[in-house]
Symmetry: C2
Subunit: 201 residues, 2 copies
Amino acid sequence: MYKTIAPLVLASQSPRRRELLGRMGIEFSLASADIDEFCRPDEEASDFVCRMAEEKALAVAGEFPGSWILAADTIVVLQGEVLGKPEDRSAAVKMLSKIAGNRHQVLTAFTLYHAATESLITRLDSSRVKIAALSAKQISAYIDTGEPLDKAGSYAVQGLGGAFVEAIEGSPTNVIGLPLPLVINELLLNKIITLIVSPGD
Amino acid sequence: MYKTIAPLVLASQSPRRRELLGRMGIEFSLASADIDEFCRPDEEASDFVCRMAEEKALAVAGEFPGSWILAADTIVVLQGEVLGKPEDRSAAVKMLSKIAGNRHQVLTAFTLYHAATESLITRLDSSRVKIAALSAKQISAYIDTGEPLDKAGSYAVQGLGGAFVEAIEGSPTNVIGLPLPLVINELLLNKIITLIVSPGD
């Protein structure tokens, strides 16, 4: 449906982001941005996630001066508290116990950066997610699968965690890690991709 | 995370439903239910979708008397009108033009049927979906991909259509075609699956 017309680099190790963007038929190269992901004291969750997306984009920009860099960051926020990736099993148990039976917010920020023209675009999307009430046994069985351990908030909506996601309010791809309607829109506006139109259309 | 403890048959040709259930680690056999999918005059959309799920389950039950049959049906409803699968390109253009820029309802009903014990359980879930405003070119480019042609409402939330889904209110797996939280709950309640619990838990 889309054709890539300017070099694009996805600066993300997340297989979910790679899959979401690839599913759209968009061609891109890959880079890994290693940055420190720590929230500053008094930093708002929305400022933090935008800063993370920008830092990831800037971290790899030197290697690709003529390309557009796309980077993103996703965080889970429950009652003002940012829930990152769990450090270990006990942190995952604690996080899942907190989000079970409650609604939390998922924030994803993405940055498009083009070093040669000094273009920097950062956008933020927010969704709310209702997780089912979970027994200690369910939490334990879920952690045994290994899925929670590298996920913000300790669950994956597109994986086994999908069984616990009772409802979303907002963009479902934002919850996975890349809000496609906003991303596609910015890629089109900045002439990084174009729509494939057949001659008869 | 789950172990199948009673024979289960998924009566569905939908690759999305097969993928959703399979992703949960649940084992099942496959069957194809061929039924007439026509809404009766004055039949409510919610009655129609429940009847379809039940008819699909009953259609294959004779072949699997000792198994649980799981069948489902999904419909898209816009302002009281049921939008099925488009018959051809021009029907897809018409449907996509209608849903673009609007919110519609997605109803999925599923039936669990066990012939030997005459157990019949039917449940219904409903979500609302907001589709982005689309230009004629976008609609045309999307139909060119072939994706809309076998989908209720002419789009797939888990495919290229994901670029147009601005927001969901409700269960995201319901929109794909099988509301996992409800389905898993019924499979557990009826002892068709069980949670895998490790000795230490």
